[in-house]
């Protein structure tokens, strides 16, 4: 189990890193929404190239990106095999009486390209600022308070709970436990999940007590020192323009 170190390279320096967090979130999400609904492969491909360009500018290490893109590929790549074989349409070729269709291949490719563009955008956005900055930016953007607070506290305690889980896991393997998928293995797994839940419940009580003793009223504030500069406005304008252009292009053609 790894720690979620999505913001490991947040301290690099690049135009994307310097982009105002609020503007970054808004414009990247706009780009994201725009890209995932593109209908033409050629345009989707251009969108992917643009995402890659942003990634390049951000200087985020390729290995960091590849490891994470891989996760999405595992989900979408099978479509490239399944869809050509199952979607009806013009035959492309046929092996052993099973035929692959142009429509299937086209549709699957579109999906793969769109999701690649999307995940690269998200990684560039998140990788170029600290996660707590992301949360604070959401706060100042007036995202629903309850949800942002939950996001903030959950994120904070994931690290603590992972540590707890790892200690439990070590204690179990120190007693010769081998995780196997049989009744016994799953029962131990169940106990472990149960223990994790019980401990978190009790920690939740203690954390609440600690908050009360520091005057918690249900609306914690955090420090933010965001300021939009001219370059931020320029960048934002460009990104919004591209997000729209991608679809105007489709409509006109």
């Amino acid at each position: 189990m790894d720690y979620p170190e999505i913001d490991r390279y947040a301290s690099l320096d690049s135009p994307i890193h310097r982009f105002d967090p609020r503007a970054k979130i808004i414009t990247f999400v706009l780009l994201l929404i725009s890209f995932v609904f593109v209908q033409k492969i050629s345009v989707a491909f251009l969108a992917l190239l643009f995402s890659l360009l942003l990634l390049l500018v951000s200087k985020l290490p390729i290995r960091f990106i590849l490891k994470r893109v891989q996760i999405v590929l595992i989900f979408v790549l099978p479509l490239l095999i399944i869809m050509p074989l199952t979607v009806k349409g013009t035959e492309l070729f046929s092996v052993f009486g099973i035929s692959a269709t142009r429509e299937g291949l086209w549709y699957a490719s579109l999906i793969v390209i769109r999701s690649m563009a999307a995940v690269i955008l998200i990684l560039t956005m998140l990788g170029s600022m600290r996660f707590d900055t992301t949360i604070k930016a959401l706060y100042t953007l007036k995202a629903p308070k309850t949800l942002v607070q939950m996001l903030m506290f959950t994120y904070r305690y994931i690290f603590v709970i992972i540590d707890e889980f790892l200690s439990m896991w070590r204690a179990m393997s120190a007693k010769g436990f081998n995780p196997r998928t049989n009744m016994y293995g799953l029962s131990v797994m169940g106990n472990m999940v149960g223990m994790l839940i019980v401990k978190s419940y009790e920690r939740g009580e203690r954390v609440y007590q600690a908050m009360i003793s520091r005057g918690y009223t249900g609306n914690p504030k955090t420090r933010t020192a965001f300021a939009m500069r001219r370059t931020d406005y320029v960048l934002s304008a460009i990104f919004v323009g591209i997000a729209i252009l991608v679809h105007i292009n489709t409509v006109m053609m």
Binding site: R130, F131, D132, I135, K136, M152, F153, Y155, R156, Y157, F159, V160, R203, R206, V207, Q209, A210, M211, I212, S213, R214, G215, Y216, T217, P220, K221, T222, R223
Partner: protein
């Protein structure tokens, strides 16, 4: 004239599941005192602390802070009066960055931005964490987390500081520096400090007066008095500090001093004074009762044959 910082009258508390945690607690603590609460595991120390800042509310108005019932206080007033540092620092560092954590209390008190900033800086400086403002809590070491949790309470500038097991799991150096820090706060800012701890060797460094808790308050007094009482200690699964024990041993060899020291520094003083007072030397010798006395003494300190 000193004021009563804490006054608790006839406090009883049971957890919802029926566990009786506190019975008939009566305590009075003057402003500026240094108090330790000792007691075995499950004696109710943490439960008592939860009452001190109103986290657990008693219905009978029996917890009074600086003359005012804590149940009647507004949140802001309460946290200006009493700050509690709990045992596990991870429970107290719940915000994304150290700055946010230390600023949490002051912001809730409604202070303006400059004042919040000033308090955060000053609290972090006090605990020696200047420059850690933007660090995230999960990348700190245990000792650093402990100090950050203390800073998060200090920034509310409470008049009473309550600490649950401040030295547990700390290495000797971190432990010594935390003890010094707590004492500085008491001396320089007149903050009343109340600690709960198991480490009897450190208790006397942090307290002028001790309460012994075991659901009820079973004893109260200066450390020397408490640690002198073998039966009290044994009945409550407690122990005397090593230095104290050693001077009891020395007294079997004919070393007489006015009051037994509890820490090394006190011991040096006592030795110097006693020896200087006795014409620059003291005889340690084995007299007719030495062996007998020693046996009785060691037997008393041994928990397993009591």
């Amino acid at each position: 004239m000193t004021k009563e910082a804490v006054s608790i009258r006839d406090l009883n508390y049971s957890y919802p599941d029926g566990t009786v945690a506190l019975e008939d607690i009566n305590i009075t603590i003057e402003e500026g005192e240094r108090i330790a609460i000792i007691g075995q595991n499950g004696a109710g120390k943490t439960t008592l602390f939860l009452h001190l800042n109103g986290t657990i509310k008693s219905c009978d108005n029996n917890v009074v802070i600086f003359g005012k019932d804590i149940g009647q206080m507004k949140s802001k007033e309460r946290i200006e009066k009493v700050g509690v540092v709990f045992q596990d620092p991870d429970d107290q560092l719940f915000m994304p960055t150290i700055f946010d954590d230390v600023a949490f209390g002051p912001i809730n008190m409604g202070l303006d931005e400059d004042e919040v900033e000033r308090r955060v800086r000053s609290a972090l400086a006090t605990v020696g964490l200047t420059g850690f403002e933007d660090r995230v809590p999960h990348h700190l070491s245990y000792g650093q987390k402990k100090r950050a949790a203390l800073a998060a309470v200090l920034s509310m500038e409470p008049r009473i500081l309550v600490l649950d097991e401040p030295t547990a799991n700390l290495d000797p150096m971190n432990r010594a520096s935390l003890i010094e820090l707590i004492n500085d706060l008491n001396r320089d800012k007149g903050i009343t400090t109340i600690v709960a701890m198991h480490d009897v060797n450190a208790v006397s460094q942090l307290a002028d007066r001790i309460y012994v808790l075991n659901k009820r308050m079973v004893a109260e007094g200066p450390p020397t008095e408490i640690f002198m009482d073998f039966d009290l200690l044994r009945e409550n699964n407690l122990d005397a500090p090593d230095v104290f024990k050693l001077f009891s041993v020395l007294s079997c060899f004919g070393f007489n001093c006015e009051s037994l020291p509890l820490s090394i520094n006190e011991a040096v003083e006592v030795l110097t004074k006693t020896i200087e007072g006795d014409e620059k030397h003291v005889h340690l010798h084995i007299h007719e009762h030495t062996h007998e006395d020693l046996e009785v003494l060691m037997h008393r300190y041994d928990h397993h044959h009591g």
